[in-house]
Every structure is written in C-alpha cells, then in structure tokens.
C-alpha cells in the first residue's frame, strides 16, 4: 500500500530564512500522525506546501502517490486541510459554504447528504443556516473542519485545530477525528497541546528550525527517552543532613522538593532506607513518568 504522504528532501526558503530545511518523511495510510515543534519550526510551511499554498524551493511531496505540484489536482482531491487561522467567507451561511466547497472538488447534489452528515457530526445543525459572521469562535472552528471534510478526502490535515477552543469542544472534536481515523482516514495533526498528541498520535515527528529532530512511534519515543523520577518532600533538616548514599543519586532541587532520577525501580527503596537511617522524615513522595512534553523539550531545546 502506498504511503499517504511522502516528503522527499523538501526545502523551503523565504529569502535567507530556511523555513524547511531538507525534510524527508513518509506517513503510512491510516496513521494518526503528529507534527510537533515550537513556533517557527516549519510545521505550517510543511502543511502549506502539501496543500499547494506554498511551493517547495526543492524536493518533492506526494499525497496518496500523487505529486502535489505536477499532479496537483488529483493530489488536492486526496487531502483536506484545516487551516490554523479562523478564516471564513462573510457572504454565506454554513450549509452554503460547505456545498460550495464540495462543488469546487467536483461534487454535485449527490454529495449534499454527506454535507448534512458532516454538519450533524460536528454539531452544526442548529447553525447550518446561520451566516458565518454570526458564529462564535468555536463554531467557526467546527465549520472550518467541516469544510476540509466535505469532499471525503482520505488524508486530513489539522493545523492547530484546538487552538483557543474550550475543553468540551476539544473533546468532541477529538472524538470525531478519532472516529474518522478508525474509518481509515489518515490524520496529520500539528498541536501545541502535547498531551493531545500523546493521547492521539501513533507516531510523531518533532521539528526544530526546519529539520526533523525525532521521528518515531509515540511509544518508542517515550520509551527511548523515558526516565522515572522520584519526587520527595522532606523535613527542614534534609538539606544539610542528606546522607552521602543518597547524594550519590542524580537529583535536583525544585520548589522545595528533591527530584531523583531513577535508573531502576529498586532505587526507591535504597533512597527511602538511607533517609530513614539518617532519621530524615519524608513528608510527601511521588513518582513522575516522562511524557511527550519532556521528550519534546529535550529534543527541541525549548524551555
């Protein structure tokens, strides 16, 4: 089965700025893929090139085996992109706008049923005949997502879809997008909410300064960079009296707590035993797992 998306040594320069600097990447069909990185990492530029909003300076991008430049019409049929900005056409209502969007892709009246289904699944039915101008931010976001889906693309790209969206709507959106993924759609997501990427994405690429700094399954990345930490709050004597056997462990002090980096799980027993012998009282104890945010911060050097 051909990959859903392939970037082959893609570069994009804006003057002297290398927005995307030689990215190669292949996303299999049916994947829920996360594209992560700090602002200016090149995520949106990658998406813009995929959708034809920007032209690569060099390299090649395929969507479902179609070159986005040479075979752009077929390639664009295969992809639905939800832009980051809340843009809308102020002249039309939601249903009109969705039908126009489907029409641009050559879909006629036979597609109206699907348009209505998208409206229903995104809870837009009450607003279907409302002018886009009159919608709240959250509703506009839903309408944007609906617009990307009206032509039933096999690949759906969401550029920061939950930015500025309340928790309830965010949950609804993700539930809907997960359903689409289960139905076989390939999903590509950029987000600043790393817990979302961790919860949703099978694999992720982390970008920094236009380059991929990590590309793996989410599970592998977490495993590769996993460290278990032990956070202890001790009585006031601890700072001076910390025994040498405990000091031998790698630790940092943060906000009045000691955070020990564990190499193995039995380290916990060794540390607590040594503290007990030194008569240092443990007030609070917690173990902390590595999450995607830690991996992201380590790899991108962000703070």
């Amino acid at each position: 089965m051909k990959p859903a998306i392939v970037y082959k040594n893609v570069k994009k320069n804006y003057g002297s700025v290398k927005a995307v600097n030689g990215i190669s990447l292949s996303i299999p069909q049916g994947e829920f893929f996360g594209l992560l990185g700090p602002n200016g990492a090149g995520k949106s530029t990658m998406i813009n090139m995929l959708g034809g909003l920007a032209t690569p300076s060099s390299g090649k991008i395929d969507v479902m085996g179609r070159d986005v430049q040479k075979d752009y019409q077929e390639a664009r049929h295969s992809v639905g992109i939800v832009p980051q900005e809340l843009v809308f056409d102020p002249f039309f209502n939601v249903r009109e706008m969705l039908r126009f969007q489907a029409g641009y892709f050559g879909k006629g009246k036979e597609n109206d049923k699907w348009v209505d289904e998208v409206i229903d699944r995104l809870d837009l039915r009450d607003k279907a005949n409302t002018n886009m101008r009159a919608l709240s931010g959250g509703m506009k976001r839903r309408a944007l997502i609906a617009q990307a889906l009206v032509h039933r693309p096999p690949v759906i790209v969401l550029d920061e879809p939950t930015a500025g969206v309340d928790v309830e709507l965010r949950q609804k959106l993700w539930s809907f997008i997960k359903d689409l993924n289960k139905e076989g759609h390939t999903i590509v997501l950029t987000t600043h909410y790393l817990e979302e990427a961790e919860a949703l994405c099978n694999s992720v690429a982390m970008l920094r300064l236009g380059k991929i700094v990590a590309l793996d399954t989410t599970r592998n990345l977490l495993k590769k960079f996993s460290t278990k930490n032990l956070m202890l709050r001790l009585n006031f004597m601890a700072k001076k009296a910390l025994p040498q056997s405990v000091k031998n462990f790698s630790y940092v002090e943060s906000d009045g707590a000691f955070i020990f980096q564990l190499k193995k799980i039995t380290d916990i027993a060794e540390i607590t035993e040594a503290l007990k012998k030194s008569k240092i009282e443990i007030i609070d104890m917690q173990t902390v797992d590595t999450d995607l945010e830690n991996v992201f911060l380590k790899l991108t050097g962000a703070k």
């Binding site: 049929h77 843009v87 056409d89 641009y104 892709f105 006629g108």
Partner: protein, 258 residues
C-alpha cells in the same frame, strides 16, 4: 478523480458563488451604480440636450446613454473580480479556493464570467430605465453584444490582476481612483473626441476605454468616431493580451501561493 465533469462542476460552483456574492449585496453592487448612471444621464441631458448635437439627428441624451451604459459595465466588471479577490485575500478565506483542485484556467473563467455578468446586468438595468423616457435605436445588435462581452471580459481580467496584485484595500482604491476612473471619464462618454483639440484626440486614441465606448455606441446609432471594426480589433487585442497576462499570473501563483 479529476474528470471533465468534476472540472465543469468546479468552475460552475465558483461562478455561482461569485454571482451570489454580488447579488447578496445588490443594493451596493447593482442599485448604486444604476442610480449613479441615471443621475449622470438626468443631469447632463437636462443641461446639454438643447445645446449639443454630437451626431446628426441624435439628441444629446440619446448620445449619452451608450457611453454611460458601457462606463458602468466596465467599472462593475472590474469591481466584481477585484473586490472578490482582495476581500478573500484580506479576510484570509482565499485559502478555501487555493486548497481545491481548481486550476488556474478554471479560476480565470469563473471570475471572468461573473464579472461579465455583473457588468452586463448593471448596464442592462441602466438601459431599461433610460429607454422609458428616451428613444434609443439599436442599429447593430451584434456589435452591442460583442463590445459588451469583450469590454466586460477585458475589465474582469484587469480586475483579477488588480485583486491578485493588491495586498490592501487602499491599494485597490488607488487602482480605481487613479486608473479606472480617469480612463473611463476621458474615454468619450460625454463627448465625441472630434470636439477635442487634435493633440487631445491623439491622447484619447491611446485610451482603450475610448474604443470600447465608441464601438458600443456604433451598435446603437450606426455612427462612431473611428471605424467600429478597428475598435473591435483594438478591444479584442487588449482582451487577449490581458487574459494571457492574467492566466500567466494565476499559473505562477504570484502573491497567492507563497
């Protein structure tokens, strides 16, 4: 999959959207230019009707109508494509078009056709109101049709260029105020160029608007300042050159896809 059918539906959808877009604000896009045209007609014909006879046997009010129709047609054809594009660019909703499989030729035809329809519709409204109180012969209907079509198309293409090139509304306003308005006012709408000094006649003949209006007027009266066939050739040439330039611009993605 892209087929001829999907391409036709795509182009028709964009055309329909563009037509609905101006129709939704018809008070501004149709009623306002029609009233402006009629006011010009009322004022100038009232003041000059008894004093001027540009063509033999043609009252000044009648002489004025074709020029006013064509001027409104041209201005509105330009406005349709240019305002649609600049609004979509400034609002950001141009991405909805750029993400679709619509080719540069489909974009060109849809925007152009919508411009022609709006221009002709506004012109036709002025015509209908004007003939309620002024007799206006139609000597060569095919010339009327061809000049309306080519004039609307030429200005529709020019509007696409302006819409793509301009980034801000003030740039677009400058286009309208410093290019379109002077060219249309100095094109012989209100006078025959034979009434001008020889040097100004030469300058007028460099203005493509002059040929569109003079040729259009020939369709009504069978009289014109220059040969209607020459005018038709000039207008067709301008239309082809501008269309070629517009298509090249859309194909390159200039100011749209970067």
């Amino acid at each position: 999959m892209v087929t001829l059918k999907t391409q036709i539906i795509g182009t028709w959808t964009l055309l329909k959207k563009e037509l609905l877009r101006f129709w939704r604000v018809a008070f501004q896009t149709v009623a306002a230019p029609v009233i402006t045209g009629i006011l010009y007609l009322l004022i100038f014909s009232h003041v000059l009707d008894s004093r001027l006879e540009v063509y033999e046997g043609v009252p000044y009010a009648a002489f004025l109508i074709p020029g006013l129709i064509m001027m409104s047609l041209l201005q509105n054809a330009f406005s349709n494509s240019s305002s649609s594009l600049i609004q979509a660019k400034v609002m950001g909703n141009i991405v909805f078009l750029l993400l679709t499989p619509l080719s540069y030729l489909q974009l060109f035809f849809a925007f152009l056709a919508a411009s022609i329809v709006r221009g002709i519709f506004v012109g036709f409204c002025i015509y209908l109101i004007a003939i309620t109180y002024i007799d206006l012969p139609i000597e060569h209907p095919w010339f009327l049709f061809l000049f309306a079509l080519l004039g609307g198309g030429l200005m529709g293409a020019f509007g696409i260029i302006a819409g793509v090139w301009c980034d801000r509304f003030d740039q677009m306003a400058a286009f309208g105020n410093f290019v379109i308005m002077p060219l249309s006012m100095l094109s012989g709408v209100f006078y025959s160029i034979h009434s001008l000094p020889v040097s100004w006649q030469g300058v007028s003949q460099l203005n493509p608007f002059f040929y569109m209006i003079d040729g259009f007027r020939f369709g009504f009266f069978g009289q014109s300042d220059v040969s209607p066939y020459f005018s038709l050739g000039v207008v067709a040439l301008f239309f082809i050159v501008l269309s070629f330039f517009t298509i090249r611009m859309l194909k390159s993605g200039f100011k749209l896809r970067n």
